[in-house]
């Protein structure tokens, strides 16, 4: 309280200044304040968030993230998986409606063209039969009667 006594000293500038309140309020401010306050409290109390909406609001970021990942999957991963070359070769036979037998036949037919011509070349070199072979073969595998019958009835 020492300082307060000093302030009351006539030499202190503060001693010459009235402590009267220099501020005023609008007319009937305090009379009306309580009612205005009540209106405000009622207004704020009536805005109560619904529990389910609040729950959804909390989940929203997680749901958004899950939706983003799903979209990335649809736009990036699935097309890459669908249209990569290794996948397309297997899918083509299935997608074009060819049966497995048709597929095999096509392979055989393709191969036969090449191997057919190859056969000609190989047989002339490797499988030719001489006259002597024929002469040796006939008596062993054919009777005398069959031989005469054939020459008589031709």
């Amino acid at each position: 309280m020492g300082k307060m006594d000093n302030l009351k000293d006539k030499n202190s500038p503060l001693s010459n200044i009235s402590k009267e309140n220099p501020f005023r309020v609008p007319d009937q401010y305090f009379d009306n304040f309580s009612a205005r306050l009540q209106t405000r409290i009622e207004a704020e109390t009536s805005i109560v968030p619904d529990q389910p909406n609040r729950f959804i609001r909390i989940l929203k970021p997680a749901l958004g993230l899950a939706a983003s990942f799903a979209l990335i999957f649809l736009l990036v991963y699935w097309p890459i998986k669908t249209f990569t070359p290794t996948q397309s070769a297997e899918n083509q036979t299935e997608d074009s409606g060819l049966s497995y037998m048709d597929y095999v036949k096509s392979l055989v037919e393709e191969d036969d063209d090449m191997s057919f011509y190859a056969l000609f070349d190989n047989e002339s070199n490797e499988t030719a039969i001489s006259d002597e072979d024929i002469a040796d073969y006939i008596p062993v595998h054919t009777s005398e009667f069959e031989l005469y019958a054939e020459s008589y009835y031709k």
């Binding site: 302030l7 500038p13 220099p22 501020f23 305090f30």
Partner: protein, 182 residues
């Protein structure tokens, strides 16, 4: 109207009597709190906002009031914090450096249509506005409200010794300002 603080608190915590008890609380403390706030924020519109914010906070948290302090000091503490919150918010909104808050509040004072004091009273208010916020609050509470240091200690959560020192320095600064402004 005389009332007992303890009874009033009990009525406020009882849902069946809360509204009526709150009405009593507002009627009892609105003027004291208003003037305390007004001296901090310096204009009527801001003081009205802060006073409403104070009572709204009291309404929301009265059920959790632990009664470790008196109702009076609890209300003053809320009002003081809400006043400082508004000042800081206004500083941020105006993109002003924190050190220029006194100029901001000075504008509030000079443009306030509800200031009806003399020139010397205006000069005193200008001198008080030179002080840091908390020191200004200490000076107002001691000089104008003549509050006990023990009550101020509970409201401002500061020791009595620190409050006495703060008031001493505040008064010295104000006296120097008034002498130099003559």
């Amino acid at each position: 109207m005389e009332f007992n603080d303890r009874d009033l608190i009990a009525s406020l915590k009882d849902e069946s009597t809360r509204e009526r008890a709150f009405q009593t609380l507002v009627n009892t403390y609105q003027e004291r709190l208003y003037w305390h706030i007004r001296k901090i924020v310096m204009n009527h519109e801001d003081a009205d906002d802060v006073l409403q914010n104070t009572f709204v906070k009291v309404w929301r948290s009265i059920a959790n009031f632990r009664e470790e302090s008196s109702l009076y000091t609890w209300l003053y503490r809320i009002a003081t914090n809400e006043s400082l919150t508004l000042i800081h918010a206004n500083k941020r909104r105006s993109l002003m450096p924190m050190s220029d808050a006194s100029e901001f509040l000075m504008n509030n004072l000079t443009s306030d249509p509800y200031f009806e004091g003399t020139e010397i009273q205006k000069k005193l208010q200008q001198a008080i506005l030179q002080l840091p916020d908390k020191q200004r609050i200490v000076f107002n509470m001691k000089y104008f409200d003549e509050m006990k240091y023990e009550d101020m200690s509970q409201i401002l959560d500061t020791s009595v010794g620190a409050l006495k020192a703060s008031f001493h320095h505040a008064a010295k600064k104000i006296e120097d300002y008034l002498k130099n402004s003559d």
